[in-house]
């Protein structure tokens, strides 16, 4: 997990969203999202509250009705069109999902929560989960609803690691967790990312900085910036501009970018930037 490594534009695409639109009860939430997730490591999906990050993730899973094209390329290079598929079919193609509020089944025990997540037609790795989270093994017979937020997050992530996946969609895993737990969850995700691609929605920039290779910024239902995560975070002005937050900790590589990048919020600016960081996503059809 090296954040200094330059964006590996040559890494094959695993998930490709093209001109994705989502309309929900009259509002146009996603207005043409274009997003490329490349195999290996963590791609961070950033943006202000309400920008459309969670909706983007849900559109991949078919949890919201989406127009446009969403394609998954598996390890064997086969391309699966996800749009129009039912959620369980998308998941069975190897898309793991940990939702924003964890959504563990409170009335089920930890063991039942994990057993439920074992997918047919996939190898299961309960040992891997219990090895990563020994605490879950001790509490396997406890109702998940009685767990702490951090423990519930372990269950949610454990569910992802049970099966072999092509890509994991993880929505704000550190939200509402104590700082110590944030570190723990981040570590586990980082370990997971060594084996499987992760698309991570995250507000905590220090977590992003720790593990993300690529980053994409969503604003007003569009992807307005893509590129290397370290490049984005290195530029405090741009980060503030795009995310509406000040970077909390001093940046480790504080090379300040020229102001040309700071305006890089408009869509017009995007093609140039994209062509630099990600060549056209033409992967066999």
């Amino acid at each position: 997990m090296s954040t200094t490594e330059p964006t590996a534009a040559q890494r094959p695409v695993v998930l490709q969203l093209t001109d994705v639109h989502v309309r929900l009860s009259g509002s146009h939430i996603l207005q043409g999202v274009d997003l490329t997730v490349r195999r290996g490591g963590v791609t961070a999906l950033l943006g202000r509250n309400g920008a459309g990050k969670t909706t983007t993730v849900k559109s991949v899973l078919g949890l919201v009705p989406a127009a446009g094209t969403i394609e998954l390329t598996d390890a064997a290079g086969r391309v699966h069109r996800l749009t129009g598929r039912r959620t369980h079919e998308v998941v069975r193609l190897g898309v793991g999902y940990a939702p924003e509020d964890r959504e563990v089944f409170g009335g089920l025990t930890v063991a039942e929560n994990l057993a439920l997540a074992e997918r047919r037609g996939s190898a299961h790795h309960p040992d891997r989960v219990y090895e990563l989270f020994p605490e879950l093994q001790q509490r396997s017979r406890q109702l998940a609803g009685t767990l702490s937020g951090g423990q519930q997050q372990m269950v949610a992530i454990g569910r992802l690691l049970l099966n072999d996946n092509q890509v994991l969609l993880v929505d704000e895993p550190t939200k509402g967790l104590a700082p110590l737990l944030v570190t723990e969850v981040a570590e586990v995700l980082a370990r997971a990312a060594e084996e499987v691609t992760v698309l991570l929605v995250e507000q905590n920039l220090s977590v992003v900085r720790r593990m993300a290779i690529d980053a994409a910024v969503v604003d007003n239902g569009r992807v307005v910036w893509t590129g290397s995560a370290s490049e984005l975070l290195a530029d405090a002005d741009r980060t503030r501009e795009l995310l509406g937050v000040a970077t909390s900790a001093p940046l480790d590589e504080s090379r300040s970018h020229s102001s040309s990048g700071a305006e890089g919020r408009t869509r017009e600016d995007l093609p140039a930037r994209r062509s630099r960081s990600a060549p056209a996503p033409e992967v066999g059809g």
Binding site: S25, G26, K58, L63, P99, D101, E103
Partner: protein, 373 residues
């Protein structure tokens, strides 16, 4: 509606046509048996108009506010039985009976609503269903011999103005039903356009947003519940006069379900849709019953005769077909055809598409499924 000036006058034109219709001696061969102004046809038409109004009062709850009540029959039946008791048992005049019915028709929904509206979603539906069941049980138990039990309660015509008595005065009952429909239509048009009407619509779309605005949805829901109940109770009086008695059929949950069918058939959330649904349902129910006993059907082979002998089978099936293939009912269909002709002009929700907007309301409330995602 705004862009079609004729649409504005259409109700008025229809009203005039309906008002002068009894003067016509037209023979409409297939649709009606006798002449248009024969008592039989006029009574059927009176029932159609009455149920048009009643369906509209139910639509006020279901279509305009999103309240799925399964107990609307209670207020309608309450109207017919209270008025009947006042006229027949107490020997009151029609005016006094009408006043009493108005009072009961206000207090009863106020009482039930104030309890039922404390819960929402399915629980609300269930409380209304259960309270209506109380009415049904009461009527069937025939306490003190006042309700007549299963036999129903015949109206003592002595207390009714002569104009509403006798076969030859059916035309007056027809006009009475027309007046009822007009009153309901005008009241509903007026209240749905008022501030309260806008709040009801907001409640239908998103109750929480109404709370955020600092309004109490409970008060507004109670208001519409009482208004719809009162309109139904008054319809009960008209029903009593048209039929010359009260029948326990009006107390049953099937009766409320048939109102739901009418509204969905015509188009929930559309005034004229609900009215048309009520008219159409009543007409079909009556005509299909006639058809079932006609020799043409009796001579059919059994596999055709059996289903055709039950209007409710045909209406129930028709309803399922409408829910599947004509979402938004007749009003939704008309709206789609109209907007296809002039696409993109109005972006607002089509009148009949309310059912879709209500999607999750039925699942909400109580400890039902909590779908967090």
């Amino acid at each position: 509606m705004r862009s079609v000036p004729i649409g504005r006058f259409a109700p008025l034109v229809i009203l005039v046509v309906l008002a002068v219709l009894p003067y016509s001696t037209l023979q409409v061969p297939v649709l009606f048996d006798g002449l248009l102004n024969s008592p039989g046809t006029l009574q059927l038409l009176a029932l159609c108009l009455l149920f048009g109004g009643l369906a509209l009062s139910y639509d006020l709850l279901f279509g305009f506010t999103g309240l799925l009540s399964f107990g609307h029959a209670l207020y309608f039946a309450g109207g017919t039985y209270v008025a009947n008791l006042a006229l027949t048992e107490l020997g009151w005049g029609l005016g006094a009976a009408l006043l009493l019915t108005t009072a009961v028709g206000t207090v009863l929904p106020l009482l039930v609503g104030s309890v039922a509206l404390r819960v929402s979603g399915i629980a609300f539906s269930m409380v209304t269903l259960a309270t209506a069941q109380v009415g049904s049980i009461l009527v069937l138990q025939d306490p003190g011999g006042y309700t007549g039990g299963e036999e129903g309660l015949a109206l003592d015509r002595g207390q009714v103005p002569d104009a509403f008595v006798g076969v030859f005065n059916t035309v007056n009952l027809y006009w009475l039903a027309l007046v009822y429909l007009t009153v309901v239509y005008v009241v509903v048009s007026w209240v749905t356009r008022s501030r309260a009407g806008r709040v009801w619509q907001a409640i239908r779309e998103n109750e929480r947003r109404v709370e955020v605005l600092g309004l109490r949805p409970y008060t507004f829901k109670l208001l519409v519940f009482v208004l719809a109940g009162l309109l139904a109770a008054l319809g009960g009086v008209v029903h009593l006069l048209v039929l010359g008695g009260s029948t326990p059929r009006t107390t049953t949950s099937e009766f409320t379900l048939s109102l739901l069918v009418m509204v969905v058939l015509g188009g929930a959330g559309s005034r004229w849709g609900a009215v048309l649904g009520g008219v159409l349902y009543t007409y079909l129910d009556s005509r299909l019953t006639d058809l079932a006993s006609s020799p043409a059907v009796q001579d059919l082979p059994e596999w055709l005769r059996v289903p055709l002998s039950e209007p409710l089978f045909l209406l129930g099936s028709l309803f399922v077909v409408v829910v599947f293939f004509v979402p938004g009912g007749i009003a939704g269909l008309v709206d789609r055809l109209r907007s296809r002709r002039r696409r993109g002009e109005d972006d607002g929700p089509a009148p009949g598409r309310v059912v879709e907007q209500l999607k999750d309301r039925v699942g909400a409330g109580m400890s039902g499924p909590r779908d967090g995602i």
